[in-house]
Subunit: 225 residues, 2 copies
């Protein structure tokens, strides 16, 4: 048996959490090698050899070293895909064509990156991350603007989730999982109730939070700073 | 024969150019349906039906409608892949495993999105896009900061391109193509000579610019505003 893969990073990091969630979803064994990013250890030469941009996570599977959390996550999902578990839908065998199913995963994965993340992340940065890392208090103007932007995005999600159970169709995919890290921290801000206005989105989120893999990753993401 | 696919957008848009370049690279027939984004036509109800976020491009292939340029581009590359032309490397037949080759394309595709784009795009926005769309002049502090950030990114690229001809290995991939739209406009700013400090990167870029598909897309991207 090959040794477990290694993830270099800290479980509180949203980008590390993305990778850990995929490992948990596919049931892969892994070793989490701590890199204390609050102390700047991601810039140590040893880590820069793994990730030339000095960011976490980095990932090792035998001789293969990868960086960029979304790329790592896709590698994990491809490597461990089975007929029953194909979270990228690159090879499923339903009635619609493979290209179309994979395209819907890509569309909603990109929507998370390009539309959802820019809105929700600023609220999390202002209310949770910057206060811890920089000792600042939230800039209310940025928070309010981001919440307005987030509401417009959630309107589109509500309409989408009226048509299908998950974002890329009726089964869960990488597109849904990608929403976990920042939404998890958003729910610890004073603005969690924003989701109450979007019942389909809220039910979708509660469904994600009920997954055993999500619960396991959450356990190492404290929000009571 | 099925009718050509449709791209809804404007060829000057970097996100539209990404899609057009992939169509040209695979030699697919397509129809470009103009959406005048300078006049805000991407928010017309007809276009919002295609892209619920009111952005360009949108894409249609028969009954399938897609949005988000990176997702559209991947759909095109998957649909038209052959043994000789597999720009996502999801099914190539070299000695290294398929998962590893696809992972390297994903890593450098993400590097473009997360490291390269945030640095180079601000220079393009300040020097070219905002002056045209908002009538402003470049904020030199933002430009200078972005150039410093870009240089640090280009250092990593130089080291990478000393080891392989292209970013994801010795053959071209989607990861390289993704750099085209913003680098093309960057070369029309007063800072093009920044690339002179990175000879491998400069040769890689000149190689991209020499491709017939790139030349064809460039022809509709004027830089003499």
């Amino acid at each position: 048996m090959s040794p477990p893969v290694k993830v270099f990073g800290h479980p509180m990091s949203t980008n590390v959490a993305r990778v850990l969630l995929c490992l948990e979803e596919v049931g892969a064994e892994y070793e989490l090698v701590p890199v204390d990013f609050l102390a700047g250890k991601q810039n140590d030469p040893q880590h820069v050899q793994r990730n030339p941009f000095g960011k976490i996570p980095a990932f090792q599977d035998g001789d293969l070293v990868l960086f960029e959390s979304r790329a790592i996550a896709k590698y994990i999902l491809r490597k461990h895909k089975t007929d029953d578990l194909d979270l990228l839908k690159e090879s499923s065998s339903s009635s619609s064509s493979i290209e179309e199913e994979a395209a819907m995963v890509d569309v909603w994965t990109e929507v998370e990156a390009q539309q959802y993340y820019p809105a929700i992340s600023l609220v999390v940065f202002e209310c949770i991350i910057f206060p811890v890392m920089r000792g600042t208090t939230a800039n209310q103007e940025i928070v309010d603007g981001s919440l307005e932007r987030l509401k417009r995005v959630l309107e589109v999600y509500e309409a989408r989730l009226e048509k299908s159970r998950y974002l890329a169709g009726d089964s869960i995919s990488f597109a849904d999982l990608n929403h976990f890290p920042f939404t998890f921290y958003f729910m610890a801000t004073p603005y969690a109730s924003v989701f109450d206005g979007y019942p389909k989105v809220k039910a979708w989120w509660e469904g994600l939070m009920a997954r055993p893999a999500v619960k396991k990753v959450c356990a190492n993401m404290p929000t009571d700073f």
